[in-house]
């Protein structure tokens, strides 16, 4: 029994799932489900289809190089069965998974770091510009502690302009 990788989306194909397509040049394409198979028949390039692992790797969304990936490399040499070795491998698999997941999370966090500062800047700008949606401008004028220091707008002119517009 062997767990293969889907050619299109790179997810694991478990036994009993999927279709494998053998091309005449003897290259075998395995697909995990008909969604990937149909995309392949449409001749879509997985590197350009957003939800595939290939796209995410190419565009730097997911980790590309890591030592934990070495453990999953395909080895074509059959190993003689050794009970101790098998036992050690079975114990190591969850540990390696945990490490890989934590490294991927770290990569994701690094990628999203700039969003925090950007969010702060945008929030500040929104406060400056649209505070009138929250509190009436006249209230702000009377109680200057509610606003940010720079942004007090002369309101009386605006009000008189608004009224004829509303009457119309």
């Amino acid at each position: 029994m062997r767990l293969e990788k889907c050619w299109f989306c790179s997810s694991t194909v478990y036994p009993g799932h999927g279709i494998q397509f053998v091309r005449n040049d003897a290259k075998i394409f395995r697909f995990c489900r008909s969604k990937c198979h149909k995309n392949f028949k449409m001749k879509r390039n997985p590197r350009k289809v957003k939800w595939t692992k290939a796209y995410r790797r190419v565009h730097g969304k997911d980790m590309t190089q890591d030592s934990t990936f070495e453990f999953e490399r395909k080895r074509n040499r059959p190993e003689r069965y050794d009970r101790n070795l098998a036992d050690n491998v079975l114990k190591a698999i969850p540990k390696i998974d945990k490490i890989r997941v934590s490294r991927e999370e770290r990569h994701h966090k690094n990628r999203m770091k700039e969003n925090e500062a950007k969010g702060q800047r945008e929030a500040k700008k929104e406060l400056e510009q649209s505070i009138s949606l929250v509190k009436a401008p006249s209230a702000l004028q009377q109680d200057p502690s509610l606003t940010l220091p720079k942004t007090i707008v002369k309101v009386s002119q605006q009000k008189s302009e608004e009224n004829p517009l509303m009457e119309e």
Binding site: P15, I19, V22, I28, M42
Partner: protein
């Protein structure tokens, strides 16, 4: 039926586009071809039955062969089955001549075949290897990949001649 409709719509489309625009025919026809390609790729692959033309992938001399009868199987032959066929196209000097009735083993089928582990295999085309009545291949070489379903059907000789086993 879907294929014929698609070919009809492509012919109509091409004539329309040819009349309308002479400047950039390439652009229009390629976009229309792509939509027609989507139609073609949704073909329903079925059994190999009477009148199915198959490719011959050994060096027996024949090139194309038309199935006359699928031995075993009410609906038709699948991957690994034997068929009776008539040679439609042959190399000029080969062991097998045009018009001869031969037996063949289907080594590649576009219709998917279920494997015992639950997965399915399908190939790119329909191909056959000519054999004699006893099941021994007539040719001495086999081209392209063959499935290992042949081992169960006792066509071991074909497997040994094959370059690649899928």
């Amino acid at each position: 039926m879907a294929a014929s409709f698609a070919s009809r719509c492509s012919r109509v489309g091409r004539s329309l586009f040819g009349g309308l625009s002479n400047n950039s025919p390439g652009l229009f026809t390629t976009s229309h071809e792509m939509t027609c390609n989507n139609y073609f790729s949704q073909q329903q692959r079925t059994f190999i039955q009477m009148r199915t033309v198959l490719k011959v992938v050994d060096n027996s001399g024949a090139k194309k062969v038309m199935c006359i009868q699928a031995l075993k199987g009410k609906k038709g032959a699948r991957l690994g089955d034997t068929i009776v066929a008539s040679v439609k196209e042959a190399h000029p000097n080969g062991k097998v001549k045009k018009g001869k009735v031969v037996y063949g083993v289907v080594v590649r089928a576009a219709m998917q075949k279920g494997r015992c582990d639950g997965s399915e295999v399908k190939f790119d085309d329909n191909a056959v290897v000519l054999v004699d009545k006893q099941g021994q291949p007539i040719g001495t070489r086999v081209f392209g990949p063959v499935p290992h379903e042949l081992r169960k059907k006792k066509h071991v000789k074909i497997l040994t001649l094959a370059g690649h086993i899928a």
